[in-house]
Each structure stands twice: as C-alpha cells, then as structure tokens.
C-alpha cells in the first residue's frame, strides 16, 4: 500500500503528517523538538526510514537530529537512542559541530563577506538551513548553512566537513546576506551525474560543481537584479529557490527575489519566464513529479510586503515551463489571507496523480492530491511553517 509522509519544520517544533495513497485522511504527530526552530527535515531517498533534521535556537545553537525508524524516535548522530552518557564508544556531540575548514591542507582562508551596509564582515556559523541526503547512500548527507557554506557528512551526520571550494572559490567577499541572513538554502543533486550538484545562496546566486564539490562556478548569466550595483553581476543575486525534475536534470527553474527564471543548459544561461504572473516576487518553486514542464509558484506581493497579493492565497501553475500561468484557488482562502510561503515550504510526491504540498507562515499545511486542481488543509494551526518535504512510501 503506497502512502506519503510529510515532514514539516516550524518555528516551534517539527510535525510529521502521514496518509495512504488517497491522501484524504491524515495522522499528525508532533511537536517533535517542541519549542525549537526546525529549519528543515528530509528523508533519505535510499532509505525512507532515515530522516535528518536541523534543530536550532538562538540561545543554544545548532543540533543535528536523525531518525532511523521513519520519525518515531530521534537521536543526535553519535549519541544512540537511550544513551545519555559517553561510556564505551563515547558519543562526542560532534554532530553539532560545523567548523569552517580554514586549514592550509584542505581548507580556504576564512575571509569576509559583504555586510548589509556594504562593509566587510567576518564569516560566522549560525545554523543549518537545508539538509540534502545523498540519492544512493543513506549515511551521506549535505548541509547548507548560514553564513553560507556547504558541509558534508559520510557517517550519518556524526561528523561534518566543509566543502571549502565553494566558500573559497573567489567571489566570497561579494556575497551578502538577504533579509533572512546569508544562507545556503538550496542543494540539488543530479541523479544522472554523481559529480554534479547545484546550490543557491541568498544573496550570492547559484553555483554548480561537476567534480563532487571540489571546484565551483557561479551560474548566474541572464539573471538581472535591479537592487545591486551591477544588475547583471556574476554574483550578488538573491536567489530564493531552485527546482529540478529528476528526469531532466539539465533543466532548472528558479524563483529569484523578483523574477521566475528557467535554464535549459544546467544553469549556464537563464531566461525569465514570469509571463502573466500577478507578481513575480516569491520564495517557493517546484516541478511536477511526472510532467517536467509543469511548474508551481506562489506569488508574494513584494519584497517589502511578504504576503500573498489581494488577500488571496493562489498557487500558480504553468504547464508550459513558464510564461503562461493559471491561478489554482479551489480550496484555498480567497479573502483576508496574508500569509507567506517560505522558500523550502513546497514539495511534491511521486504518486499518480502527483501530490503538491505547501506550508504557510500562518501554520497551515495544504495538500493537493490532483496536481493542484483542488486543495485541502491537512492542518490549520501549526506554528509558522519553515519547511515542507514529502516522502513517497511504497
């Protein structure tokens, strides 16, 4: 019996929503890690029982949590469930440790980046925004962090090492924080090429590696951002999210600060596909699991008014890979709605028909079991939603 498991990160804990393949009735568990900010949870494609979670707090810093049983129980990697002390195979709490690699052997000097006022500011680790498990190996997982850098663990999240070629490739001093901080928020692994990976940073832009993370290149040609001194600069663009359909890994879709963009050549060139959207500011973007030209966005009013326009929550769908968009409103509030949908808060399942899910800053998680034609709230009153991921279960 197929089913889905929706992993929801919120400002005050994590929730797990499960249903069978009909996606009509839902079980809700949580809050897990009650009171903590859960920026992201994501399951391993190679082992659906393996889920990684980023737990953080302005007071207590960054914690990595892991479940090996589909979210029923959790532990910090290196600290097995039920063990609280370090006797015998001592857990060292290393899973909490994200240290920029500034060593002369493998690292890059820890330089500065641009601060809000244009001055240079030292790199400081703050939190993990995004966890991306390897497509084939459950013990391998990548972490995108603030201040922007990419880390990798090959032992199930116990130890983390920076892929320092990204932070150190040369344009770092031109990177700057967006309103949410200088975060590496998007990690996309190419299923057809184990060496190729895409990442995106606010506000630096998108980058690609073709050698497993040793070297990186900015892939921002075609992006235009009027809010930076050189609107067509190589880096400095506030990319909000990037999405790919795994059947066509060279085609990428991007929701930038303003503008919805598309690349057909692995990010070498981008063109705008905002078309008839009511506003092309937004955060989320995703691609239908089975129709690689069908994409989804949720337009937000503006960069100073982070809520949906006209008090109406509308998902926009394009079946033509952009330019021509239709509003999807069936089951969504069409008056007095002023929520935002944050960048990692939309996901698709791979059932037939494709399910679409998104969470709002008002605490609702909406699901569509018919590719967006109709919507229902799974839950209405969670804390503000920071991220939504979905696992399709056999």
């Amino acid at each position: 019996m197929s089913g889905v498991r929706v992993l929801v990160g919120t400002k005050k804990g994590a929730f797990i929503l499960t249903s069978d393949g009909k996606r009509e009735k839902w079980d809700v568990s949580g809050p897990h890690f009650a009171g903590w900010e859960m920026y992201h949870l994501k399951g391993s494609p190679a082992d659906p029982n393996r889920i990684y979670a980023s737990q953080s707090s302005g007071w207590f810093g960054q914690i990595i949590q892991r479940s090996d049983d589909g979210g029923k129980t959790w532990h910090q990697p290196g600290t097995p469930p039920g063990e609280t002390t370090g006797a015998g195979g001592t857990p060292k709490g290393e899973s909490n440790k994200f240290k920029y690699d500034a060593s002369p052997e493998t690292g890059k000097p820890l330089t500065t980046h641009q601060w809000y006022d244009g001055t240079q500011h030292p790199w400081e680790f703050k939190r993990v925004w995004h966890l991306e498990p390897c497509l084939t190996e459950p013990e391998t997982v990548y972490a995108g962090v603030e201040d922007a850098a990419l880390f990798k663990s090959t032992d199930g999240g116990k130890n983390w090492s920076e892929l320092s070629g990204l932070r150190g490739h040369g344009t770092g001093p031109k990177w700057q924080p967006g309103a949410g901080g200088m975060c590496l928020h998007t990690i996309i692994l190419d299923p057809s090429d184990p060496g190729r990976m895409y990442i995106a940073i606010s506000a630096a832009g998108a980058f690609r590696t073709d050698d497993g993370g040793k070297t990186w290149k900015p892939i921002n040609k075609g992006l235009k951002s009027q809010y930076i001194p050189d609107p067509s600069a190589e880096v400095g663009h506030c990319v909000h999210h990037v999405a790919m359909n795994k059947s066509r890994p060279d085609v990428l879709f991007m929701q930038k600060h303003w503008d919805v963009m598309r690349s057909d050549d692995a990010g070498e060139n981008w063109r705008e596909v905002s078309g008839n959207l009511p506003t092309d500011f937004g955060f989320v973007i995703d691609v239908h699991a089975h129709e690689p030209e069908t994409i989804y966005v949720v337009p937000i009013k503006s960069d100073s008014e982070h809520y949906v326009p006209d008090g109406k929550l509308r998902v926009y769908r394009s079946r033509t890979g952009g330019q021509e968009w239709e509003a999807l409103t069936n089951g969504l509030p069409q008056s007095n709605c002023y929520v935002n949908i944050l960048r990692d808060s939309m996901a698709v399942d791979s059932l037939d028909k494709c399910g679409i899910y998104f969470g709002t800053t008002g605490g609702q998680v909406y699901a569509s079991a018919d590719a967006g034609d109709s919507w229902n709230p799974i839950v209405r009153d969670l804390p503000a939603v920071l991220s939504v991921e979905v696992q399709t279960l056999d």
Binding site: I63, G86, G93
Partner: protein, 98 residues
C-alpha cells in the same frame, strides 16, 4: 557532587530533570563544571558554550549564589557553597522574546 540547573530546552535535549549532579575535580570553576557536564551529557556540547572557543553563548547567563557569574573568568573558583553542593550552579536563557 556539583548541582547544575539547566534551562528547559537543554533538559529535554539531555533527557534530564531540572537539576543534574556531576562529579567535578577541584578546583570547581565554571570551566571545570561545564567540562564535567559535557562529559556526562555530550549532547550538550556546543549548546552552552562554543565548540571551539569555549566562549559562553551570547544569550545564556551563569549564576551562582544569586550572583551573576556570566562575565567572570571561567577559571575563577566558584563559591564554596557551590563547590560543596549546598547551592546549585545555574544556567539561564536570557529573556529575549520568542
């Protein structure tokens, strides 16, 4: 044994109640108390003080005998009543909204 009172989120993380007791070699200082605490509860590493610098995290405060020890040298001996276990060493989260 030294008594340590933790803020609620760290009690949950360490699977303990409001107060824990740890064996601390003399001299009993902030540093030696936190070393012993982290040895017994390694999941707390990085949550009270930075992994590398061992600096107190910005939004946490340390109290002993109703006095603020947050800015005292971490190798300064704590009061005898803390060292004897009569009074607890207290870790408090600063009130800053949220």
């Amino acid at each position: 044994m030294i008594r340590v009172i933790l803020p609620p989120h760290l009690r949950t993380l360490a699977h303990v109640g409001s107060e824990v007791a740890v064996e601390v070699p003399s001299p009993v200082t902030i540093q030696s108390v936190l070393d012993a605490l982290e040895d017994s509860y390694p999941m707390l590493r990085g949550t009270i003080r930075d992994h590398d610098t061992l600096n107190r995290r910005a939004f946490l405060r340390f109290f002993a005998c109703e006095e603020d020890w947050s800015h005292e040298p971490t190798d300064k001996p704590l009061p005898e009543s803390v060292a004897s276990g009569k009074e607890p060493f207290v870790v408090i989260g600063a009130i800053a909204g949220g």
